[in-house]
Symmetry: C2
Subunit: 386 residues, 2 copies
């Protein structure tokens, strides 16, 4: 059968997705690209469609296709804004819902028009808002992580106190700290918030404590609100675990209105195979920003993970390049960083970043406050020398 | 510094994750496995831990490590049940939160003890419950998909009517149909539900219509309830888009209580690279079942996607093998299937499956009801001949 001929009223606005295709030649690449156009929209073969508006406008459209390296092609495919239905979930679906199950297709970049971006509130604070909250005008921000899972709430609060006393700007929790019996959320968060507040009172700094609120859907919004009530200055969420749209809802909640750090847990698979998945630039950059995170944590090159300098640069670009009305956000390189890499990190990332050093502080010496102080001194030194 | 020495009260219950490691030799594989034990729990290096219960019980434990092929090792690592905090989100995190960002690690299988499985309600209907609802005792179930995006609600309802008239058991919507202006949810779902009901009245069959409710978090629960009110017999959700825990909440909602089909959109990347990610068995089998889906849609081998026979067999095993109190669920092979592959599919999957043929019905001839009838006749023939 042929589907009924359909006429549609469409805005004409389209968004584009840049895909990297792995194919044996130009004809194969073109077939792959045509397949994506159908697969991501109508999910039927071309010959079942009437000569109508579905074929002309709902099916994805190849805007460009070029060879970029032997066996590799870049395809730019556009989709009608209406296909995404104003829903983050459906936008993700049009981008890569079914095609993720085919080999040799990788999402490299999203180009979303203002009409689509306006459907999202985006980051509430962004770099500027977060700097204003912390009272830090120019230098890179200093971040660290509260850990490990297994410690009591009292012990974690004590560590938080020492870290804040030394002068870090942001203390996020390990994303593995949720509501374990070792340090239940309702005990841990008030204690840590109080400890950081106490340190701030002593130092005059404004260290921000961001507990991990990643949790089941029926608990995450409550935890976020409680965290704020108990004095946490921000929250951390892992959208891979909690869902991208849950991050969006937290960010758009006017009664919450605290900075949100996005954590990369469970998302690594998207980026790790260069010929599949969703590039670092998108999964750790464009998507967290679109969903409303004010900063995006990822693993720095040269640590214990597998990200390259180019991968990290791609993420940084996504945090700062124009994206409609969406504010620029902070990249937070992390993962096995040490104090002696600070100069190099400052060279690579410049000032618009949060440098997250955790294990590297804990292992620096017996006095955690002193290690944290050393972290801050080194950063101020680097800043003065530039 | 060394973290404070900690004594914990633990149940002693542990769950295990089977990982496939890609490594240059046994020593490298062991280092990788040890890394996972730390990375997925305490996220600090071993030498910062006291000789305490965190080191002994919270850190993951290598239960087995063996070479399975040149350069490939299987590691079985156990974690204290308490690390998952009774939360699906945190369970996923312990399984593969950070290690997903390292190359050469793939999750092959989960072995969850009854004490952990009891924290989840699991599938409400499962195979038996779904068969009872549909009034089909033994044969494989016949499924199809309503499409394409772009058609009006009236046209989609007409297609649904014809498909139901022919005698398919389940009509699921394309997962790309959400709330587009072409066929808004609130118009499409009542119309299609009514059309299927009308056909059922004529045939005496009990065709189940499962609209796609995948949506943003603030809308998905409402859509699921509306779908039921409007007469849909089931719902479909893509947990990759909506979040695994959102699927769990839908499944555990006693006021909803309709069968749930899980759709694989956005999840393909996890399975597609054999040395990374999360095996088909887990991502399309164990996880949907744990989260409470009654049936799991995936792409059959030999269609337009890249799944192999072994991949599909792995999914089937996950739907039926013992998993505590969790009911067995239906595998739903789909994706480019045609009527002439039915005998082979029946051979491969046996009776405990839903065969989903969509494009293969639409392209079979001009009369959709006749094609649907042919689908049913072929299945009954196959059943009689065995």
């Amino acid at each position: 059968m042929i589907f009924p001929e359909t006429r549609l009223s469409l805005s004409g606005e389209r968004f584009t997705v840049h895909y990297r295709l792995t194919a044996g030649g130009e004809a194969e690449a073109e077939a792959l690209a045509r397949g994506i156009c159908l697969e991501q929209t109508v999910e039927v073969s071309d010959n079942l469609l009437a000569d109508d508006d579905i074929r002309a406008h709902v099916v994805g459209r190849i805007e460009a296709l070029e060879a970029v390296a032997p066996g590799h092609y870049d395809a730019v495919i556009s989709y009608a804004v209406e296909t995404a239905a104003g829903e983050l979930t459906q936008l993700l679906n049009v981008i890569f819902g079914n095609s993720a199950m085919q080999p040799g297709i990788r999402v490299l970049h999203l180009d979303l028009p203002p009409s689509l971006l306006r459907q999202f509130k985006g980051p509430r604070f962004g770099c500027e808002g977060l700097r204003a909250l912390l009272g830090v005008a120019h230098r890179p921000l200093l971040g660290t992580a509260l850990k490990p899972m297994g410690l009591s709430a009292v012990d974690l609060a004590d560590l938080a106190y020492q870290l804040a006393l030394g002068g870090v700007d942001i203390i996020k929790e390990d994303h593995g700290l949720t509501d374990q019996p070792f340090a239940p959320f309702a005990e841990r968060v008030p204690r840590c918030a109080e400890a950081v507040e106490r340190a701030n009172h002593e130092t005059g700094y404004r260290c921000l404590y961001a507990p991990n609120v990643t949790a089941p859907v029926d608990r995450i919004f409550g935890r976020a609100r409680q965290a704020k009530e108990w004095g946490a200055g921000g929250i951390m969420v892992a959208p891979g675990l909690a869902g991208w749209d849950t991050l969006r809802m937290l960010a758009e909640d006017d009664t919450l209105a605290v900075p949100i750090l996005s954590h990369p847990a469970w998302l690594g698979t998207f980026a790790i195979s260069p010929e599949q998945g969703v590039a670092h630039h998108v999964i750790f950059g464009q998507l967290p920003r679109l969903a409303g995170a004010d900063a995006t944590i990822f693993v720095n090159h040269g640590g214990r993970f597998a990200f390259s300098r180019d991968d990290c640069r791609g993420i940084v670009e996504a945090t700062e390049q124009p994206m409609g009305q969406l504010k620029p956000i902070f990249p937070i390189p992390a993962g096995g960083m040490t104090l002696d890499r600070l100069p190099e990190m400052a060279e690579f990332y410049g000032s618009e970043a949060v440098f997250l050093i955790a294990g590297g502080l804990y292992s620096h010496g017996p006095d955690l406050a002193a290690s944290s102080r050393r972290f801050r001194q080194m950063m101020e030194q680097i800043r003065r020398s530039r």
